[in-house]
């Protein structure tokens, strides 16, 4: 295998007005594993997408073996020998393992697919993981019949099938069990010897220290440092990830009265991602959920709102509940501000008023009393200080902060007793965030129980008295009082010891 060096210099990527990457740098060499680390919003995934050609930078350069390259698509990146493994998003469900691995570059014989060759090559790829796989993982198995860890392995083998010079493993170990991870790391060792360059993007500190030679840390869209693993430790990397982060002045929580009624009591909640989470929230408490994205926070909130299936016990206001539909949760005075404003929270082409009243139209009689609806809408808009042309303007015309006010406004109109928030300040400017925090503390002080997931550690530290950090579907730490510190938060997010 030819040696390769890939260098990313000062890459910048903006989407609309948002800067996802301000100054991305990376140097990857043959025979080395370079880990890419960063907290939420650090630009880690954007940099990874630039490497694989999914996204092209607005400015900056990508150099392969010293020569600048431009990838217009992932296909071009692959042709240059760069292959990526994501989390099983790219498999075709009704094709077999072999067909998926070789899709687009199937071995041919006289124009026809060479099934024998395909099967043989697939089997030799599968053999790399021999002993780690259940017997059903054969070249002819359909993807739909595979479990998540098996699909992940197929993704890895698919990337390998292109015989890459550089492979990017982006959270590729998330679905694998420990034995499979061990085998993968053995393989990585072989690849290194063979001259491959490897980029390892992960949120698991322990794995990074096992496999990587170098670590490159991103923070707030910038590459802030590169360290040699053998010469550093977990604490130093964590510090790089958080050092000097913006600390907005925030309102500290008042002490929660210990005898406030327990509004929500969850026991052993399980979903596809959650592996048994238990917690309690009292009236007037702002409980935070922390951790990196995808660790089960969304699932937890959606399950509590009746939006997804779950197993486990939920006791709300002292009564055991089983919500099978959000409407049922709403009747028990639960409200959810969902994670993706655009696809889950708002009807973009409808007016602000329509969005505000959508959950509540059945309270306005038949025919609907529009005047009352307008009055209620005006009132909540004033309370939230929404900046808008009129109640009848489409919600798509609002800025991010104001759109989020609509999402929360539609729930506040119903005076919920339990308010669930799924990363509500994503993509909102600083001023709107401050207003939002003020609103939350007001609600808390008025006695609302609030369960609040944020990918922004500053928010959690500033607003909450108690934070549960989720990692790999479980609570990895409960931080409160003295232990509610940034280092512990980040460390628990990475599964590292605090």
């Amino acid at each position: 295998m030819k040696d390769i060096t890939l260098v990313v210099e000062n890459a910048v990527k903006t989407y609309g007005g948002v800067t996802a990457l301000a100054d991305g740098n990376l140097a990857v060499r043959s025979g080395e594993v370079t880990a890419l680390l960063g907290a939420n919003g650090s630009g880690k995934s954007t940099l990874s997408k630039i490497l694989t050609g999914v996204v092209s930078p607005n400015s900056g350069r990508v150099l392969i073996d010293g020569a600048p390259v431009f990838f217009r698509s992932p296909v071009e990146a692959r042709r240059m020998g760069i292959s990526a493994v994501y989390q099983e998003l790219s498999l075709i469900p009704d094709l077999t393992v072999a067909e998926n691995i070789w899709l687009g570059h199937e071995p041919l014989r006289a124009g026809f697919m060479n099934h024998g060759e395909m099967k043989a090559r697939t089997q030799s790829l599968l053999d790399l993981f021999s002993g780690m796989l259940k017997p059903n993982l054969t070249p002819d198995a359909l993807i739909t019949s595979l479990s998540p860890d098996e699909r992940q392995i197929v993704e890895i083998l698919k990337a390998l099938s292109y015989d890459p010079r550089l492979i990017i493993l982006d959270e590729a170990t998330a679905s694998l069990d420990s034995q499979q991870v061990n085998r993968l790391f053995e393989l990585i060792g072989d690849w290194k010897t063979g001259g491959m360059a490897i980029v390892f993007v992960s949120h698991r500190m322990e794995e990074i220290f096992r496999i990587a030679d170098k670590a490159s840390v991103l923070r707030n869209g910038r590459t802030v440092g590169e360290r040699t693993i053998s010469e550093t430790n977990e604490r130093e990397l964590v510090d790089l990830m958080i050092e000097g982060a913006n600390a907005l002045l925030r309102e500290r929580a008042a002490v929660v009265p210990v005898d406030a009624p327990i509004r929500l009591d969850v026991q052993e909640l399980r979903t596809a991602v959650l592996r048994g989470v238990s917690l309690q929230v009292r009236d007037g408490e702002l409980l935070g959920l922390g951790g990196l994205q995808g660790q089960g926070q969304s699932d937890l909130l959606m399950a509590l709102f009746g939006a997804i299936r779950y197993s486990g016990q939920i006791v709300l206001s002292g009564m055991p509940r089983q919500f099978k539909h959000p409407k049922q949760a709403m009747r028990s005075d639960v409200a959810l501000v969902p994670g993706d404003r655009g696809t889950e929270g708002l009807l973009a082409i409808r007016s602000i008023l329509e969005n505000l009243i959508l959950p509540s139209w059945d309270r306005y009689g038949v025919p609907l009393k529009m005047q009352k609806a307008r009055a209620d809408g005006t009132q909540i808009a004033a309370e939230l200080k929404m900046v808008m042309a009129s109640l009848h303007a489409p919600v798509s015309s609002l800025s991010g902060g104001n759109a989020q006010k609509v999402v929360i406004g539609k729930w506040l109109l119903r005076s919920p007793k339990l308010l669930l928030l799924n990363d509500p300040t994503k993509g909102i400017d600083v001023g709107a965030k401050a207003e939002f925090y003020h609103l939350l503390t007001q609600l808390r002080d008025a006695g609302t129980a609030i369960l609040f997931y944020s990918s922004d550690d500053d928010e959690l530290l500033g607003l909450c008295d108690r934070v549960l950090v989720l990692h790999d579907g479980e609570v990895s730490a409960e931080l409160t009082g003295n232990t509610l510190m940034r280092e512990n938060l980040v460390a628990a997010s990475m599964g590292a010891a605090s």
Binding site: V54, S73, S90, I92, P93, D94, L95, E106, M113, S145
Partner: protein, 326 residues
């Protein structure tokens, strides 16, 4: 259901329909003694051929995630073209010219559909519904009333079994089915089949892998038009005359045959063989019902109920699965 059995079913979804087909054959044979004699067999298969062609063409479109509701109208158009272009005393070159004309018209029709769906990015259902009116109009414009008479040579060739020797004959329909099966075996071994499955299964993933999704979809509409033209030819050769409304009821049947055959309407999987079996099933049901001597005022209802039930079965199965899972 244990693993191996369920894997057989999922990898080859037409297994279920094959079983149904065999059951129906048995029933048919019970009602019709001479079913397997060359004459009746040939006649039966000949009648089934147009539906089989349509089902085959429709399968391509559906696998890739679309649907073609204009196939019936394309059949009508072909019928009109052939009836007017092949006079009773036609010579071979006139005949061939007419065939080419029909194929040409079909190609244009398929191009219109493909263009609308891939270039203009219109929704397949309503688009092909709209083009079906255009093609139906063209058919009526060319041939306002049923008519035309084809040369005896053609009709007798098509209607009679192929005589290998004076004793042994092969039904034409059987030859066609065999050719279609061979056709599928060839296609299924090319990259094209993978592209079809990927385009219908997960278009974004297919695109990232470098598959030209739009091009693949376009070809499926060309295939559909090709087979609709062949279906029209089969009808005209069989009846010996043209009918500008020949295909009116056939569109829905083509979709039903595909669904019975095990291909999902949402796309991403499927195969021709299942659709052929599906078309055969529909044909045999028609036979069985006519033996049941139902009067002509009950038949349409029974036919429609059978169709609806056939279409509902995949949904009922997955509903059952959803309720079974804890």
């Amino acid at each position: 259901m244990n693993g191996r059995l369920s894997r057989t079913f999922s990898r080859n979804p037409f297994v279920f329909s094959l079983i149904l087909f065999l059951v129906l054959v048995v029933i048919n044979r019970a009602l019709q003694d001479n079913m397997f004699e060359l004459g009746p067999l040939n006649g039966n298969l000949r009648v089934f051929i147009p539906a089989i062609f349509l089902a085959v063409g429709q399968t391509f479109v559906i696998i890739a995630g679309g649907v073609d509701l204009s196939v019936g109208a394309m059949v009508s158009m072909t019928s009109a073209i052939l009836a007017t272009q092949i006079p009773q005393e036609a010579t071979a070159d006139v005949f061939l010219r007419a065939l080419l004309l029909a194929f040409g018209a079909g190609a244009l029709a398929g191009t219109l559909n493909g263009f609308g769906v891939t270039v203009l990015r219109l929704q397949p259902i309503v688009t092909t519904y709209a083009t079906s009116f255009i093609f139906a109009g063209i058919a009526l414009a060319i041939l306002p009333e049923p008519g035309g008479r084809l040369p005896r040579d053609i009709t007798s060739f098509w209607r009679n079994p192929l005589q290998v020797t004076t004793e042994i004959g092969i039904p034409i329909g059987l030859i066609v089915i065999t050719l279609l099966v061979l056709f599928w075996i060839i296609i299924a071994n090319t990259r094209y089949k993978q592209f079809l499955f990927a385009t219908g299964g997960k278009a974004e993933a297919a695109y990232t892998t470098g598959i030209r999704v739009n091009r693949v979809k376009f070809t499926t509409y060309l295939f559909s038009a090709l087979f609709a033209t062949l279906a029209g030819m089969a009808i005209v050769f069989g009846t010996g005359t043209g009918n500008p409304r020949a295909g009116e009821q056939m569109t829905l049947l083509s979709v039903v045959a595909v669904v019975i055959g095990g291909t999902r309407l949402s796309g991403g999987q499927g195969n021709i063989i299942g659709s052929i079996i599906g078309a055969l099933i529909l044909g045999i049901i028609g036979n069985v019902l006519s033996f049941a001597n139902l009067d002509s005022w009950v038949r349409p209802l029974i036919d429609a109920l059978i169709i609806i039930i056939a279409l509902a079965i995949p949904g009922l199965i997955s509903l059952g699965r959803r309720m079974w899972k804890p």
